[in-house]
Amino acid sequence: MNDTQKFPVKKVNIICAKGAIEDVYATLVLGNGAVMEGIETNIFFTFFGLDAIMKKRMDKLHTGVVGNPALRLPGGMRMPTLLGVIPGMEAFTSGMMMSEMAKLDIPPVSEFLDLITAGGGKIYACKLAMDMFKVKKEDLTEHVIDILTVGEFYALAGGEGSQIIFT
């Protein structure tokens, strides 16, 4: 038996602190993938990541079109930063990204959270960020099972074979 078999990842604790499509989806794909592998999964949404668990915002995420040097136009040319300031460009680009993801059977955020929680994955919100952004419990989706302090999050993350991932 080699080391990867002897010491498997038993639990992942993923922190999502940003609210752009690519940040949130990195979290959701990692989280859902862990659940699918039978790994215990906790996902902690904080700061701008809270958008992904707010009922009114979760399925309307955007991606940044300014200051994103990896963003390309269809055809592969880099998107000039100046184009990003055209009104509607961000919404247009975000819509394109979402439709490309839908083609790969990647679900909208709310449905992704349905899949994760159906498999036993747990979703948490950060107390401090909620206080800071004046977010109330009723603004959050029902997928969220608890609001935690950072200390409570670390307590949750304990155990052999447990990993903390910051996306």
Partner: protein, 103 residues
């Protein structure tokens, strides 16, 4: 390529135990593989495995999301029927290759 014998039939499998020839699969064989995984198969198990096999045969990708659109069971029940890693276990028992899907 490895071989295994289930219910008196010798079948071709890969190193992880997944069928390399789905045509060799029978329901009797499925019962034996399930036993190895600690699962006792019910009609619900067979119904969702039939969905997975049909989807595989028509070349569609297998994802956890597709289970919700199966009309057979929802994802929560799927996790309950094949505890742990449901898509991996279900495809193994259903005699089709391990899905190369991230979702």
């Amino acid at each position: 390529m490895a071989q295994k014998t289930y219910a008196g039939v010798t079948v071709d499998v890969n190193e992880e135990g997944y069928f390399t020839n789905p045509l060799q699969w029978t329901k009797e064989i499925a019962v034996e593989i399930a036993k190895e995984e600690g699962i006792v198969l019910t009609d619900q198990h067979f119904a969702i495995m039939e969905f997975l096999r049909n989807r595989f045969n028509s070349g569609d990708a297998l994802s956890i999301r597709s289970i919700n659109h199966s009309g057979v069971i929802d994802v929560k029940t799927f996790y309950h029927l094949f505890p742990g890693a449901p898509l991996k276990k279900a495809t193994k028992i259903a005699g089709i290759p391990k899905p190369a899907s991230c979702i």
